[in-house]
Amino acid sequence: MKKILNSPQSFVVEMLDGLLKAHPTMLAYAGDDPHCIVRADAPVQGKVGLATGGGSGHLPVFLGYVGKGMLDGCAVGDVFSSPSAEQMYEVTRRINAGQGVVYIFGNYSGDVMNFDMAAEMADMDAIPVRTVLVKDDVASAPRAEAVRRRGVAGMVFAFKVAGARADRGGTLDEVAETAQKALDNIRSMGVALSPCTVPMAGKPTFSIGEDEMEIGMGIHGEPGVKREKLQTADQVAERMTLAILEDMDPKPGDRLAVMVNGLGATPQEELYIMYRKVHDILAERALSVHRVYVGEFATSMEMAGASLTFFRLDDELADLLDAPAHTPFFTQV
């Protein structure tokens, strides 16, 4: 295992310590447990709170989107594993300004169960909570079983528009509905070229041949659609684009936001080579591109690979997506 760290045991806590030392005006600990992080100005009066949470190892997801225009708090788990219900509840309590809290997180059973428990704790304290699950990965289950799909990079778009809706005074139900409406229009798919290593495990999560890739792999190394020979950038981009479009079924003239996301080790040059092909296919189909995000938005530590996300916009969603935001990892003007 070749990582810059002090010890696997201290990995997450030291990462958080560094993050809060680097961004003291933006982030703060919710209380004594370093795994509970909130906006430095939490609770934001008059605003619905937005919380997320999940395992570490995905920066900027999840914590990196806590800040103005996006999230209010985040419960941070160990690498690739859910934070506890207590931690989620601690965040909930600290960001609730009396308007309630919306949970937006990925559809992984550990996270789902813990957020369910946290919501029960919040309920006992009379904090109203709404839960919106991110299930954007089209490769993780066929359309008929879309409820089983896992959440990947598309969650960033949900954070963005729900955050903007909350900023504009949306009620608890309105913010949750906006997040759900966004997610109904968000689809993603990934490809992995190399594994990554969980510090505590010390060895790669899976192995993959020198000339192989896995289309559809998830951000913890969950198996994808197919393990096969490495293809060209155009072929990979085309397959992901077509798979998403087939699932989403947009009409000519529809407006999309596009995200090409690096999983960790893939150079940005390669992401742009992929975007080029995506752009050309969308143009051919008369789909217009409203905004483009290329970079690292949801990673799997040092995994090589990329994911593609489309977000179909109507006027409301486009307007919310365009709103400014400012967090440690995401600044939009």
């Binding site: 594993s81 859910s82 506890s84 219900a85 169960m113 813990n114 089983r148 969980v198 495990a201 999560t205």
Partner: protein, 213 residues
């Protein structure tokens, strides 16, 4: 045999916790391997964390309320390990604890109720049903077999063996099936023939418990 010989006291419960810790520590690599085959690989870490947490918790004082104490172990487990398995085990401990509120000894009937409550709790929390190839497929038949045996007046030791046999059988019955829940659900066809890691962990846990009765 006097009635109290069949009962489980505070010390024995604490000892049971330590036995489970030791078993998890001994088997974590095996569980990691099973979980990796399912496209994940954190289960070994999870049980190690649970082991450390329980070992430490076992040093604390039940203070006359085994039920509260066991439920407290659930909180500790959830804090220490909040992956699926950790959360389910935490839920199981909390529900089991509820059945023993205010007690200083656990009778066979209470033990049986605790196991059933754990089973129900895990099913409610995880929303998996028997046959989905999850930990439920080991725990549910085990809880049923134990409850039946105790209800039939069978001794604790023998009831424990019946429970264990049912757990192992449950684990093996779903091995040929396709996983449909949790992370393994995404691996689909490739899980056919693979032992469910959660079932394996549950059998290890129950073996450790029975070992001390």
């Amino acid at each position: 045999m006097s009635q109290s010989e069949h009962n489980i006291d505070e010390q024995t419960v604490a000892h049971a916790m330590k036995q489970v810790s030791a078993a998890f520590n001994a088997q974590h690599e095996y569980l990691t391997g099973l979980d990796q085959a399912m496209g994940d690989g954190d289960l070994g870490i999870t049980v190690t964390k649970i082991a450390t947490a329980l070992e430490q918790y076992a040093q604390t004082d039940p203070a006359g309320d085994l039920g509260k104490w066991i439920a407290g172990a659930g909180m500790v487990v959830n804090r220490a390990a909040s992956s699926t398995m950790g959360t389910l085990l935490a839920t199981a401990l909390m529900r089991a604890g509820k059945e023993a509120r205010g007690l200083t000894e656990l009778t066979p009937a209470v033990l049986s109720a605790m196991l059933v409550a754990a089973d129900v709790g895990i099913q409610e929390r995880g929303k998996a049903k028997p046959g989905d190839k999850t930990v439920v497929d080991a725990l549910h038949p085990a809880a049923q077999a134990f409850a039946e045996a105790i209800a039939a007046g069978i001794g604790l030791k023998e009831a424990g063996q019946k429970m264990l046999a049912a757990a192992r059988e449950g684990r093996d019955r779903v091995t040929p099936l396709k996983s449909s829940t949790g992370r393994a659900g995404w691996v689909g066809e490739r899980t056919v023939g693979l032992v469910d890691p959660g079932c394996a962990a549950m059998v290890i846990l129950l073996e450790a418990l029975v070992g001390i009765t």
